[in-house]
Subunit: 282 residues, 2 copies
């Protein structure tokens, strides 16, 4: 099942062409997106997703997204979905710079999609990850905002290529490292490190996206007595953790069971505890 | 005027939607492109463009483009253009990974466009450029092929953002620098440095695109007795040059008259000489 609503509120057919060839979102990857998990009609962390959409728009100097309009489109897609048939939806919000040489009107749409079986399997079984160099140091994002390091842009070819490199190495996922030896993020997820009763994730100002799923988990964990910290994580700390997790909307909190080909200590029980905490938020 | 032909040979209306919302070219910037200059019906450096398209496809692990098919589409667009009305065309070749979750068939099209007045002005008047950090060292491309540094991908949001940063600094163009102090390229052009009777441009293996216009100029210049070198250029060499030029298909060989706000030595005569050499190739 798929449900498509354009930014101006029209329900459209996702099997038919809807985008012009000269849309800058296509021609230049010049646009932004969010992926929201919706469970039984309830969007998770919608406020944080819309905050991040606004932040990405600001970094790309796109017109500020109209929050009320996007909320209405989200509602339309949710209302058009058959929840009895499919209790979960990945809801993409896409917002581009519009037509090349046009009047500056952005292109936008909300698209509800099924969640792939592979993702469901990874939620349950965990993933093998490899560390791949991302090529920049953790100070670059603040020094060079034109590199858009904290924006969730449509220019994701590198993130996709990293996934193929992981597959070539027999793994499912990637953890990007910075040139100065700290951990960044996954291509489409945030890294969370658990040790003792503390959860840590790297700070957005090193050139990564602020996590929405990570934020939900950290709220719940803190309420349950965990210590939660947003601070740099050195690469050398990864193998010393009680558990590594990749958090993203559709994958929720996914366990990393293998890092660079080496099996990590069993974090199954920890994963169950964190998943229960995460779910308790909704 | 605009002429659009899809990869399967259909003439299509560029004012109507032709692309689905779930095309990976749009959703992930996951595709590649080329821009070919066509003058009075003759495409310039088409072989080099198609070579580069094939190289980009290989880096992104896209199905190898069928050269004969692309040549036929180029011919169709050229045949559909009114050369009497408009003697120059920018011909975009776009090739994406196709529909997300589809059967792997790429999306492709060839789109003929007018050349913007701004570009024509810059050919004549030259540009002011600023040096912007690109954030990686010149060894990264070979070390980390998943970063796609030598591919002409659709993920160009950073290149566009760099242009906006240049405008904010009162300039027209950008010259990207590597972390180790060497010159890379412009966001949509190659840098050429002239000193004495030598032309130099940086090598593609440091993470930049091999230039098609630069290649044409170098062939002509070498025949005319210039020495041409593909070798690293240090940032400190830029202000010591007789002339700096940004080469791209649609802008041809454009003179840089100002660098980081400082007027460079007048290279008008040199520009005229190099432009004549470049034009002599076609």
């Amino acid at each position: 099942m798929r449900v498509l609503v354009t930014l101006d509120g029209n329900v459209a057919d996702p099997d038919q062409p809807q985008i012009r060839v000269d849309d800058l979102g296509l021609m230049r990857g010049d646009g932004i997106f969010e992926t929201v998990l919706v469970v039984e009609g309830k969007p998770r962390e919608l406020d944080l997703h819309l905050n991040r959409l606004a932040r990405s728009a600001s970094l790309l100097e796109l017109p500020p997204p109209d929050r009320a309009v996007w909320e209405a489109r989200v509602r339309q897609v949710i209302d058009g979905w058959s929840w009895a048939d499919s209790p979960e939806m990945a809801l993409k919000l896409v917002y581009t710079r519009g037509i090349d040489g046009g009047d500056g009107t952005p292109t936008g749409f909300a698209l509800g999609l099924e969640i792939a079986q592979k993702v469901r399997d990874q939620r349950r079984d965990g993933v093998a990850a490899v560390i791949l160099e991302r090529g920049f140091d953790s100070g670059l994002a603040e020094r060079a905002p034109w590199l858009l390091l904290g924006a969730k842009s449509l220019s994701y070819a590198v993130n996709m290529a990293a996934g193929r490199e992981a597959a070539r190495r027999g793994a499912d996922e990637v953890i990007f490292s910075a040139a100065d030896g700290v951990v960044l993020e996954g291509p489409t997820s945030n890294l969370i490190l658990a040790k003792g009763r503390t959860l840590r994730t790297p700070p957005p100002n090193i050139g990564i996206l602020p996590g929405t799923t990570q934020a939900g988990l950290f709220r719940a964990a803190e309420r349950a007595g965990w210590s939660v910290k947003i601070e740099s994580i050195g690469l050398d700390e990864l193998t010393d953790a009680d558990g590594l997790f990749l958090a993203s909307s559709v994958r929720k909190v996914t366990r990393v069971h293998t890092l660079d080909g080496t099996r990590l200590p069993d974090s199954t029980a920890l994963h169950a505890e964190l998943t229960a905490l995460y779910e308790s938020e909704y």
